[in-house]
Point group: C2
DNA sequence: CTGTTAGCGCCTTCAA
DNA sequence: TTGAAGGCGCTAACAG
C-alpha cells in the first residue's frame, strides 16, 4: 500500500493486523483505514505467508468418495467456525493423481485435517513443512484420532439395538461400493465385536452391483435363521427391506433392519427404517477450537452431547417373530 | 535449497522448472535432482506465488448445500484433470460468514470457478487481484456461463418425456428445502416453458417438511386432473410415488412420475423411477481445459456426448390412464 | 508513537 | 552453461 496515507509501512502493518503491542493514535489509524478503503488495498496473502511462514488456510483432506449426510453438515459448520476465527477452510478430495505431497506444493496451510488415511511419507512431508496435522477420522501414523466418533461404535450400537429386542442371529450388510470399505469395515467390525460380547450369532454379506441379487442374499440370510440386519446405511437398509418384501417376508415381523444416517429415504420407506443419527455440532466446535489455537475463536455454547451417535427407533425393528 | 549440489540458485530454478530456454548439462541436472531428493527440498509455494504473482490453485466456489450425485462426480474428475496439468483444486463451500473477498485474502488462486452466484463486489475484487474467473453454473455479472448444462433443460426434458407419452396436465414438484431454490427454480421454469410450448396444463407445488402432507398435495394434484409429475429429483419423485400409493393410486397407471439424478433410491423404488441422468465427463474435461490454458494438459479423448442430459425410462411412466 | 531496515524464498535479467 | 544481484509485498526487530 502506497504511503498515500502519509505514514510508514510499519504503521500500516500495525493497524491492519491490530497489533496488540503497538499504540497507534486513533487519527493515524483512521487515516490508514481510510486510505486502504479508497485504494481497495488488501495485503497479499502470499507475501504475508512467506514472511510469517504460515498461511491462514485450513485444509480438509477428504476421502475420494462423496461426503454426504451428517459429515457434510459437519464440514459446513467447521468452515463457518473457522471463518469466525479468521481461518479459511478448503477441501481437497483425495484422488489417484495428486497426494498430500503434491498439494502442499501449492500452498502451506496452517493445518491439515486428515479425514482419510495418510501415508508416513505424506505425514513426514507435512511435518517437515511445519504444517499442523490433525487426524480426524483418518489415520496418521503417530497421531491420535481427534474425532469423538468411532465408526465401530456405530456398528456396536446397531447390534445392541437388535440384541435389546431379543434378536439372537444378526447380520451386517455392506454396500456394493468397495471404495466405502474404509468406512464400512470398521462399522462391521464393531458390530461383530459387539455381537461376540453379547453371544449373538454374526455374519456379514456384501451387496453386489446387481440389484436383483440382493433378493438372493437376503433369502440366504433369513433361511439361515438371521432375524436382525444391520445395514451400512439407510440406502442399504432400504434395499434389504425391499428384497425381504419381494421374498414375501414382512418387516419387521420376519426381519428387523437398522440403517445409519437418518436420511430421507429411511423416513419415506414403508416401514420407516430404524436408524443411527449423528450429533456432530459439538464435534465441529471441538475441531475448530483445536485448529484455531492462538486465535480468538468466538465462544460457543453447545454442550457436549451425551452421545455423539443415537439410535432413532422406527418401524423396521421389533422383537423377532412377531409384529 | 543450499547449493549443496554445488551449483547456483539459477541452475536449481532452471532444472526444477524445466525451463525451456535454458540448456543444462545432464550431469548438472542429475546432480541437482539428486541433491533435491536427499535434502527433501521443495520450492516454497508462497515465495513462488509472490514472485510470479499467481499460484497454481484452482478454487471451486460451491453453493452452501451438499453437492452430491453427478455434480460430485464432476468435481472429482475435474480435480484429477487439473492435477494432471499441475494445478491443485480446492473447494470452498459458501457460508454465511465468509465471502469470496475474505477467501481471497488467504490465497490468490490462478482461477475461481463459480458454481454459485457471485456478487458484483466479489467479482470486482477477484478481477482486481488478477484472478481468472469462470462462471460454471453460477452467475457472475458480466461473464458467460461456461457450463454446457442448463438446469432449465432438465425441466424441459422431463416435460417432453411426459408429453411424448400423451400427458396433457403435468405438475412440477419442488423440494421442501428452499436452499435448493437456486437449483430447483430454473428446472421448474424450464418445465413450465416447455409445457407452454406444447400446450400442456402446468402447475407446481412445493413439498413441506411434514412428510404426511405430501399425501394431501398429491391428492390435490390428481383430483385436479394432473396425470404426470416432474419431480425435482429422485428423492422427491420417490416421495410422490409413495404418497400416490398411500392414496390408492397406482403408478404409473394413475400417475406418471419423472425424477432426476439416476440415483439408487429411484432404482430401488417400486415401481422403479424414470429419471434424467447426466453425462458430465466431457464437461469436466472442457472445464479443465479452460482452466489450464497455457499448461500442457494431457490430451483427452472423450467426445462431446450427443446430450449432456438423457432420459432414463423406467417403470414409473406410461401413457395416462392405462398400465 | 512512528520511521528505517533487513530479509522471508524464489525467479529472472544480465554478465561472465 | 552458470553466477550475481535485484526485487516481488510484507512483517518485525530496532532505532528515533
Amino acid at each position: 500500500m502506497a504511503e498515500a496515507a502519509g505514514v510508514s509501512r510499519t504503521t500500516v502493518s500495525f493497524v491492519l493486523n491490530d497489533r496488540p503491542g503497538a499504540a497507534i493514535s486513533e487519527t493515524t489509524r483512521q487515516r490508514v483505514l481510510q486510505a486502504a478503503a479508497t485504494l481497495g488495498y488488501v495485503p497479499s496473502p502470499e507475501a504475508r505467508a512467506l514472511k510469517t511462514g504460515r498461511s491462514d488456510i485450513v485444509l480438509c483432506l477428504l476421502p475420494d468418495w462423496p461426503i454426504t449426510g451428517p459429515l457434510g453438515v459437519l464440514l459446513k459448520k467447521l468452515s463457518a467456525h473457522l471463518a469466525e476465527a479468521g481461518l479459511t477452510m478448503f477441501s481437497h478430495q483425495r484422488n489417484a493423481v495428486d497426494d498430500l505431497t503434491q498439494v502442499l506444493q501449492s500452498t502451506t496451510p496452517a493445518a491439515v485435517v486428515a479425514m482419510c488415511d495418510l501415508t508416513p511419507a505424506e505425514a513426514a512431508f507435512a511435518q517437515q513443512r511445519g504444517v499442523h496435522l490433525v487426524a480426524w477420522m483418518g489415520v496418521i501414523p503417530g497421531y491420535p484420532d481427534e474425532a469423538g466418533l468411532r465408526q465401530s461404535d456405530v456398528g456396536r450400537l446397531q447390534v445392541s439395538a437388535l440384541a435389546g429386542l431379543g434378536h439372537e442371529r444378526v447380520a451386517y450388510v455392506l454396500p456394493h461400493d468397495t471404495d466405502l470399505a474404509w468406512f464400512s469395515d470398521p462399522r462391521r467390525d464393531g458390530a461383530s465385536e459387539r455381537a461376540a460380547e453379547l453371544g449373538l450369532a454374526f455374519e456379514h454379506v456384501r451387496l453386489t452391483d446387481d440389484v436383483g441379487s440382493t433378493t438372493g442374499l437376503v433369502d440366504g440370510l433369513t433361511t439361515s435363521g438371521t432375524t436382525g440386519v444391520c445395514a451400512y446405511n439407510d440406502e442399504v437398509a432400504f434395499s434389504v427391506v425391499k428384497a425381504a418384501q419381494r421374498l414375501g417376508r414382512e418387516v419387521p415381523r420376519d426381519l428387523s433392519v437398522v440403517g445409519v444416517d437418518d436420511s430421507v429415504i429411511g423416513r419415506l420407506s414403508e416401514p420407516s427404517i430404524t436408524t443411527v443419527s449423528f450429533e456432530l455440532a459439538h464435534e465441529a466446535e471441538n475441531l475448530a477450537a483445536l485448529l484455531a489455537v492462538g486465535r480468538n475463536l468466538p465462544a460457543r455454547s453447545s454442550a457436549r452431547p451425551a452421545e455423539v451417535i443415537r439410535l432413532v427407533p422406527r418401524a423396521s425393528t421389533a422383537p423377532p417373530g412377531r409384529a
